[in-house]
């Protein structure tokens, strides 16, 4: 249990997708103009990460890892399919995103309208594939840990995008040097927020 809480806190604050690894920056910059759309985008990312990381964990454990196919037959012990992981992970992610898109369209047409073209773009959001690749690299022990990691990373991303959207809404009223307006100042503020988030480093329960 303690281990799970640790992974959760760590994936939200310390290994924050945006501030520590710059994952999902493209949609982070594109969708963060208003708080409302960024909340929708954030939830979509939490949802997709929460599903794809455990599914890819199972895929990794039972298909891709070296010797993972022994549950079919012992003679498969030498087979190592891990070079296929990129293509398998991205296939799972692309199909999951399609699913989320259909669900959102059905449940909340308003949200679907406002997210517009960004939902399909979740498929190419590096945060999602990054989540799966980090899961593979850090070799979590069981599916609960992987799920907690996926959800934690999603929540971390959610926090980051909502925070920057709130700042961007306010910054419209301030006097920013013209060449810095828009993209430039967003980069620098994200950097400052990253410095803030670094103060979480070393927290362990």
């Amino acid at each position: 249990m303690e281990e799970l809480v640790n992974i959760f806190i760590q994936s939200i604050f310390i290994d924050n997708m945006v501030f520590a690894y710059f994952l999902g920056m493209c949609s982070y910059l594109a969708v963060s103009k208003t708080v409302k759309t960024s909340v929708g985008m954030g939830f979509a990312v939490i949802f997709v990460l929460g599903f794809t990381v455990p599914i890819n964990f199972l895929l990794e454990k039972f298909v891709l890892k070296s010797g993972a196919l022994t549950w079919i037959d012992d003679s498969f012990i030498d087979i190592d399919l891990s070079f296929l992981s990129f293509i398998m992970f991205i296939a799972i992610i692309a199909s999951m995103v399609q699913l989320v898109e259909m669900i959102v369209e059905k449940i909340s047409p308003a949200l679907y309208g406002s997210l517009g073209i960004f939902l399909p773009l979740i498929a190419v959001n590096c945060a999602i594939l990054g989540g799966s690749l980090f899961m593979q690299e850090r070799a979590y022990n069981n599916i609960t840990e992987a799920t907690v990691f996926g959800l934690g990373s999603g929540i971390g991303w959610f926090l980051a995008i909502v925070a920057i959207a709130a700042i961007r809404e306010k910054i419209r009223y301030s006097h920013v040097p013209a060449p810095l307006r828009g993209l430039g100042i967003t980069f620098i503020i994200t950097g400052l927020m990253g410095i803030g988030f670094m103060s979480f480093m070393g927290i362990k329960l």
Partner: protein
């Protein structure tokens, strides 16, 4: 296919190659491919390797998708593009692992993340799907160079100011700046400074080219 009447390096084609270097830069103007541009720029070596990998994947992917552009049903085009890119990235990853293992370890997940690098997807969607092979190839090259020089510029400043080296060569020490009291700025190695560096590059670029300023 390529228009027969047009020369290989006509003005239009040259523009495809040169535009993304500055005015239409993928990182600072189109806001694509930021993720990897920031994460692997602590040192020059991984940045150069990354730039070359992206160059290869991008030009080949552009050519392949452009060849197939009339065959791909538009409903499933994203998945087709992802498969093309993923296959190329697997090749690049295996080559890196075989020849420059230490750099490949350093890049860790970011080689895999070339797949979701929005520059590649973005250019495939915006250009290769609607243009001929040669033009798409030039567009891929141009955008990859535009991405590459930002990457290398950021890495140059971060390595020089943060660690005092270039490609691992101790420049500052050889210049003897430490003896007169110069100190490395450890801040530059930390992730947030990558963002600030790119922010400053954008600032300088837009100061030179006022058309790019957002209202």
């Amino acid at each position: 296919m390529r228009d027969k009447k047009e020369a290989l390096f006509s003005k239009k084609n040259r523009k495809l190659l040169i535009d993304p270097l500055n005015d239409n830069n993928p990182v600072t103007t189109q806001v694509l491919g930021i993720c990897s541009a920031l994460a692997i720029t602590v040192q020059l070596k991984p940045a150069v390797v990354m730039a070359i990998s992206v160059l290869v994947v991008m030009s080949v992917a552009n050519v392949v998708v452009s060849l197939m552009r009339n065959l791909i049903p538009s409903r499933i085009r994203i998945i087709v593009q992802l498969v093309v890119i993923a296959a190329l990235v697997i090749l690049v990853d295996q080559v890196l692992k075989a020849f420059v293992y230490d750099v490949s370890k350093e890049l860790s997940v970011f080689v895999g993340l070339i797949i979701t690098n929005c520059i590649i997807m973005g250019r495939l969607e915006a250009f290769a799907l609607g243009n001929g092979v040669w033009k798409s190839f030039l567009d891929g090259l141009g955008n990859a160079f535009g991405y590459g020089w930002i990457l290398i510029a950021v890495a140059f400043f971060r390595e020089l100011l943060g660690a005092g080296t270039l490609f691992g060569y101790p420049v500052i020490e050889k210049l003897g700046l430490y003896e007169i009291g110069y100190e490395n700025n450890g801040m530059m190695i930390l992730p947030p400074m990558a963002l600030v560096t790119v922010g400053i590059i954008i600032w300088i670029q837009r100061m030179k080219n006022r058309d790019l300023i957002e209202s």
